[in-house]
């Protein structure tokens, strides 16, 4: 079909230069010297004025990291990373730590405005949108602003940069930090534990339904800087919180490293919804530049009847290596993972989820939609396991891949492990190209090839989009269109 051929050609011809968040912010920053050593770890810890236990904790991680090697099992290829050629700390000079909004450098405020993230509370209130979203804005290694803190405090919800929580809520941080993702978990997690910069801390007290959506916006600005954010969310018994994460970075020719950790803890009857729209710079049309995104995200359903749900829309990064997981420890706990991963240009995605069933009658669900275009490689990798005691465990997994063009790849690598006869696991996967019948049907009704493709792609990812909070869903839909620009109107 000529129109389809044309569509495919257009997709092939796009370079990912359509990235619209690629501007840089001209702001002076304070950096640690290049490279990594015990001194640098101490430097970061001192910059943040940390208690001694945390400095030691970081140093322990650093020493452990020296003994580890980079994992090589993912279907991603990249030249060796020189860990001594990176800056591990960078902060805007004018905003070395969070302040009241009035004190935030106007240049930074303008940056977030350009990114579509309003930081001024009144602006949000004056806007047409009725739902409030509290934002923690992280710029390179530090949090520059957190909104709606007071209103949240009235409900008893703690929402602040983790560097601040270390000082204001040391007991909570010490109790939960590293309790989901141990310091020794994997190469990148151990590196993060040694040098983590900033990120958000959330604590929702027993029985509290968090009155608004919480959100963190991560921005990498500085050159040659690694970003190592760390997020910790604790939902105490019977509480509920919905959390959104967004990320962008300027266009740069060098690859930049991003190795984050997110830890979620849900106690009895608590629920956490965690949504991500990941739009780090993917590199240019030749595959030059882009973020290396090596992220460890894990939720611990520690309490009975607890519930953790991950939703991700992955359109950015040169390399994505992330597997948001749930440890279903509490009886009757539930884990969910909904994912849309779009890859184009030379992007490489190796992402999926792990559902580890430990408790009785635990349930999990994985819905993954991968779309590959250009010369990209898109892999779903997932693990579902039931341990001996996980009687009555249930999992349903569905992974579908869509290929646009014949130079990309789509791969599915699930690991399904059951040690309990009453556990019921069901897994299905399909890979195909956009149905010519569907395209023809839509075009016969008057849509152009691009519109028809957009329609079909939207239908393909619909199940997952529905899991996102509404504002995010609209944003995500746009983002998917941009990522596949050329084929989608």
């Amino acid at each position: 079909m000529a129109a389809l051929k044309e569509t495919v050609e257009t997709v092939e011809s796009i370079d990912v230069d359509a990235y619209k968040y690629g501007f840089t912010t001209d702001i002076e920053s304070e950096k640690a010297p290049k490279g990594l050593s015990e001194d640098i770890v101490r430097f970061i810890s001192a910059k943040k004025d940390e208690p001694e236990w945390l400095t030691e904790w970081r140093l322990g991680a650093y020493r452990r990291w020296l003994t580890m090697s980079e994992p090589r099992w993912a279907k991603v290829n990249y030249p060796p990373i020189d860990y001594q050629d990176l800056y591990y700390y960078s902060a805007p000079k004018t905003s070395p730590g969070p302040k009241s909004l009035d004190e935030v450098d106007p240049e930074l405020l303008r940056t977030y405005e350009k990114l579509g993230i309003p930081l001024r509370e009144q602006e949000i209130l004056a806007g047409v949108e009725t739902r409030k979203v509290a934002v923690d804005a992280v710029f390179d290694s530090v949090s520059v602003a957190t909104t709606f803190k007071e209103e949240l405090a009235k409900a008893g919800v703690i929402f602040c940069p983790i560097s601040e929580a270390v000082k204001t809520h040391p007991a909570l941080v010490q109790k939960y930090l590293g309790s989901v993702v141990p310091v020794t978990d994997n190469f990148f997690a151990t590196l993060n534990s040694a040098v983590f910069s900033d990120g958000s801390f959330v604590y929702v007290p027993p029985g509290v339904r968090c009155p608004m959506e919480l959100s963190t916006y991560f921005r990498i600005n500085e050159k040659n800087t690694g970003q190592f954010e760390r997020t910790l969310i604790i939902a105490d018994a019977g509480s509920y919180v919905s959390y959104l994460e967004g990320c962008t970075a300027p266009k740069r020719d060098e690859n930049q490293l991003h190795a984050a950790i997110v830890e979620l803890v849900a106690l009895d009857d608590a629920e956490i919804k965690y949504s991500t729209v990941q739009n780090w710079y993917p590199g240019d049309g030749e595959g030059k530049g882009g973020i290396y995104n090596f992220v460890t995200k894990r939720g611990d359903c520690r309490g009975r009847n607890s519930h953790i749900s991950w939703t991700q829309v992955e359109t950015g990064s040169a390399i994505t290596w992330k597997y948001p997981s749930c440890i279903l420890r509490g009886d009757n706990s539930q884990g969910e993972f909904y994912s849309i991963a779009v890859s184009n240009g030379f992007q490489q995605v190796d992402s999926g989820s792990k559902m580890i069933h430990l408790g009785r009658n635990t349930k999990s669900r994985i819905i993954s939609k991968g779309i590959s275009a250009g010369r990209s490689q898109n892999t779903y990798r997932g693990q579902v396991s039931a341990h001996r005691k996980a009687s009555g465990a249930r999992n349903f997994t569905n992974c579908d891949s869509l290929l646009i063009g014949d130079k990309c790849g789509a791969h599915t690598v699930p690991y399904i492990e059951s040690k309990n006869s009453s556990a019921q696991f069901e897994h299905e996967a399909t890979t195909s190209k956009i149905s010519q019948d569907q395209l023809f049907y839509a075009m016969q009704r008057g849509l152009s090839a691009e519109e028809a493709t957009a329609l079909i792609v939207n239908g393909f990812v619909r199940d997952v989009l529905q899991q996102l909070p509404m504002e995010f869903a609209v944003e995500a839909q746009k983002l998917i269109s941009i990522s596949l620009e050329g084929s989608v109107g």
Binding site: L403, D406, H411, A423
Partner: protein, 428 residues
């Protein structure tokens, strides 16, 4: 492996060094080097993640020697033209050489290698990169080479019987080849049949070259072995254009077993089906690993597997379908289902897709669980006692794979083997 060669690897090396006069030296050396690079595979090798051969082969048994066994000791289970490979040695005296149908030539592998037969060496040179296959190529003792002339249509099945005597702990490396000429049509039965349970360490491989337009039915049965036995059984199949292979394997457990299938659909419009039923109990560990690679355009592959896992046994299914960029219009579907009958049973599945072509329809499904409560109730409500209802459901579950065997007589025979296996469940 060189820096930390284990006792076992040192023992294997000395076995290799004793193969100096066994022919195909450069092939053996190349294979040994390939094996040496990885050593005995273990959990950290992605494709051996669930079956740790290094741990299972801590002590390597000595290579098998000459065995004296009367023909009558080797039971004949089906009507066929049979070629016996006893403890790794092809035995013309125990085989039906004189009954071979016209168009079929049989020869011992040892002889073919001694004569440096180009066709055989070329077929062996196509081995895939796998440590157990490499070990087989380095240490192969003997086997049978079957040549089926182009256009030959055979009705009588050809049987390659890998028989292990009860000589105790011994290592057996056999390699057989079947070259199915253009447009030929044949059935090959492959059996692993211990005369009595023993702690043998067996590594058998069968290389199939299926030329353009040829059709092959392949039925493999693996009889139980002693709990301490370690068996690796590899099938290496290459399919030409418009050729077809329908391969079935029944595994009845016994010790540690790894069956691996490497299939290359090289020609256009090749059609391959791999099916199997695996029945496990006690502490059986059985792994079936498939790598089906589509390189020709318009190919079709089907994989269909059933596992019944009882007691403390472990089942492993790994199936990878890869589609190369040129293999447009590939149609691939894989399904594996496992029934866990007891609380101590384990099932690990890894169905994998690796797709580099866009105009394809590929999919897989995998399930794992116990008997369906609705089905059980339905049968009970019709009057079947629980145990009988279970047996009927398990048999039906296995039959879903068995029904894919084309030859009815063979299907009936294997159904009976499943029933016998199930009957033992009630005795325990």
């Amino acid at each position: 492996m060189n820096e930390t060669a284990s006792q076992a690897e040192i023992a294997l090396k000395s076995s290799f060094e004793r193969m100096k006069n066994a022919g195909a030296q450069s092939l053996r050396r190349g294979a040994w080097e390939a094996f040496s690079r990885s050593g005995l595979p273990n959990k950290r090798d992605e494709s051996w993640h669930y079956t740790d051969l290094r741990a299972a082969l801590r002590a390597v048994a000595p290579m098998s020697g000459e065995t004296k066994t009367a023909t009558s000791a080797i039971e004949r289970k089906q009507a066929s033209c049979r070629f016996v490979v006893l403890d790794g040695a092809f035995r013309p005296d125990l085989s039906d050489l004189s009954l071979a149908p016209s168009g079929v030539a049989a020869q011992s592998l040892r002889e073919a290698l001694a004569h440096g037969e180009a066709e055989v060496l070329a077929a062996l040179a196509g081995d895939v990169d796998d440590p157990a296959v490499a070990l087989n190529a380095a240490l192969m003792q003997d086997g049978v080479v079957l040549r089926i002339a182009p256009g030959t249509v055979l009705d009588t099945p050809l049987e390659i019987a890998n028989v292990t005597s009860n000589a105790g702990a011994q290592s057996v490396y056999s390699r057989s080849l079947a070259m199915v000429g253009k447009g030929a049509s044949a059935t090959i039965i492959e059996t692993l049949e211990p005369l009595a349970p023993s702690e043998a360490q067996e590594n058998h491989a069968l290389t199939l070259r299926i030329e353009d337009g040829a059709r092959l039915e392949h039925v493999c049965t693996v009889a139980p072995q002693a709990g301490a036995a370690v068996r690796v059984l590899s099938l290496l199949a290459t399919l030409g254009a418009k050729s077809a292979l329908n391969s079935f394997c029944l595994i009845e457990g016994g010790g540690l077993l790894r069956r691996q299938v490497f299939a290359l659909l090289a020609g256009e419009s090749a059609d391959a089906a791999f099916c199997g039923a695996t029945l496990l109990r006690g502490r059986d560990h059985a792994d079936t690993t498939l790598q089906v690679r589509h390189e020709g355009r318009g190919g079709k592959s089907r994989e269909f597997f059933r596992y019944v896992v009882d007691e403390q046994a472990t089942g492993v299914f790994q199936g990878k379908v890869s589609v190369a960029q040129l293999a447009q219009k590939t149609d691939g579907a894989m399904q594996s289902k496992a029934l866990l009958l007891s609380d101590g049973a384990t099932m690990n599945s890894k169905p994998e897709l690796e797709i580099f072509a866009d105009d394809v329809v590929c999919g897989h499904g995998a399930t794992c669980g116990r008997l369906d409560a609705d089905q059980l109730f339905y049968l009970q409500a019709r009057g079947l006692p629980e145990r009988e209802a279970e047996a009927l459901l398990i048999q039906g579950f296995a039959n879903e794979a068995l029904r894919l065997i084309a030859r009815e007589a063979m299907r009936d025979m294997l159904e009976a083997r499943v029933a016998t296996w199930l009957a033992r469940r009630d005795i325990r």
